[in-house]
């Protein structure tokens, strides 16, 4: 019998007034896998992730995370999840150590001082620990956000554009750390991104979204073969333009 999915989404719909931001999504994500959620602006990636996190209530449909129905049963599983997003920040006046201590206490992390030291070592933050978070560079702040998202050693990590606004070198460094954590911990990761190279490198499965719906869903290799393309970026452009061409043909 296959293990229960880490995330199960069934007929998920989110309507804002008359606009459907997410329109009937159905997918499930196996535990220990890294899945990419690809899509352009307004595709519904952030809305989908917010419903999986329990930050946003669906209009209809169902989201089950680690066996708990979201958002109603979120307190059963929030301790085992975490997230990182460029749309959320850490308190700027607190030092990195203070921020990690507060979040560590919120998540009930045992041996917190040791965990902070370990994360600081892994993410190259040791020399910065007592510096206010607001005085860090963009790359350093991303590493702090990553440290916060790993503070409770989560079984499920939701990442919304984790390397947005980072230079290629720092972005690559962050990806390597994420890869290492997931392999070591066998954690499940759902990664929303515009960055095709990032998705291609990290993810064993890709869900491509457009206008709140799933346009395609497969492994990167099979997507490349099916579309006869060399990169996911080309696949993404094919998917994005296919609908436009179909619409033009229909007209």
């Amino acid at each position: 019998m296959p293990p229960a999915p880490a995330i199960e989404v069934r007929q998920l719909v989110k309507v804002y007034k008359t606009v459907a931001a997410v329109d009937g999504l159905t997918f499930s994500i196996a535990p220990g896998s890294i899945t990419g959620l690809l899509g352009g602006n307004g595709a519904g990636k952030t809305t989908t992730i917010a419903m999986i996190m329990g930050l946003l209530a669906p209009t209809s449909g169902r989201v089950t995370v680690l066996g708990a129905q979201m958002p109603r049963q979120r307190y059963r599983v929030l301790q085992r999840m975490n997230f990182e997003s460029p749309y959320v920040e850490m308190p700027m006046r607190l030092t990195i150590r203070q921020n990690l201590k507060v979040f560590g206490m919120l998540y009930g992390v045992p041996d917190l001082a040791e965990r902070i030291a370990q994360l600081a070592h892994d993410l190259d933050l040791t020399d910065l620990l007592d510096r206010p978070t607001g005085k860090l560079s963009a790359g350093q702040k991303t590493r702090v956000s990553l440290a916060k998202s790993l503070i409770n050693s989560p079984d499920l990590l939701l990442l919304d554009e984790p390397t947005a606004s980072l230079d290629p070198d720092t972005a690559d460094w962050v990806r390597a750390r994420l890869e290492h954590y997931c392999r070591e911990r066998r954690a499940t990761v759902l990664l929303a991104s515009h960055n095709m190279a990032e998705v291609e490198r990290l993810c064993e499965r890709v869900i491509i979204m457009k206008r709140g719906r799933i346009e395609d869903d497969d492994t990167p290799a099979r997507l490349l073969a099916r579309y006869g393309r060399r990169t996911l970026e080309e696949v993404f452009l094919d998917v994005a333009r296919r609908r436009s061409e179909q619409r033009e043909a229909a007209q």
Binding site: F83, R93, L94, V102
Partner: protein
Amino acid sequence: MTARTDGALAFSPRRVAAMMLRYWYLLRSSWPRLVELIYWPMVQMITWGFVQFYVMQNAGFFARAAGTFIGAVLLWDILFRGQLGFSISFLEEMWSRNIGNLMMSPLRPFEFISALMVMSVVRLLIGAVPVTLLALIFFGFNLYGLGLALVAFFFNLMLTSWAVGIFVSGLVLRNGLGAENFAWSIMFLFMPLTCVYYPVTTLPTWLQPVAWMLPPTYVFEGMRALLIEHTFHPGLMLDALAINAAFFAVGLAGFLWLLGSARRHGSLMQTGE
């Protein structure tokens, strides 16, 4: 209960302590925040202290009612600063775009509210204690001379300030920082109606029942009775407590409803204006 509510009512002192530590780190790191806590209460107290000096020299009745102005100023400050202390700690999360991190963490709404309540008392004490000592030095008014009555006044005023602070925080959660002005101004709606500086009988007859629906009215009437007639009326404090319990329940229910509404409308993801 925990199974039925899926853990939403679980309460962890550790998580409350985490939030208090977060606000304490913030206060400690910013001297302007500390100065602001003392600045306005002191300006108010000095202004009204001199007004009282002037009135005492010119009116026989007020000469007997020594301390009512400064007493009113100090008690009003407990009410106003209590609510502001609660709301500002909450607004700090909105300003720093940290609310998503908290809402995604295991922190329960009741734990968050408890931490904000405790921090409002801490902030109030940082500002109020030096000012009450200055009132004693400059104007000979000893607030602590009110004895046990002061405890009853303080507790009732804090309950009202928390009830209002909780409700306003819900409004800001639901409507974003565009609703921030409520946090700064809502308590001034209470000022004329709760009869801070004058007896309830000063109000038009039709407005007096409205005043008696507000718990601080009982506190300010009680303070005047104590300072002018040297009589403490426990009945007034019990009435205030009963109305405060209703205020607190409404504030809490409003907050939870607005939080649910924010979750439905996506406001927790967009915490800007």
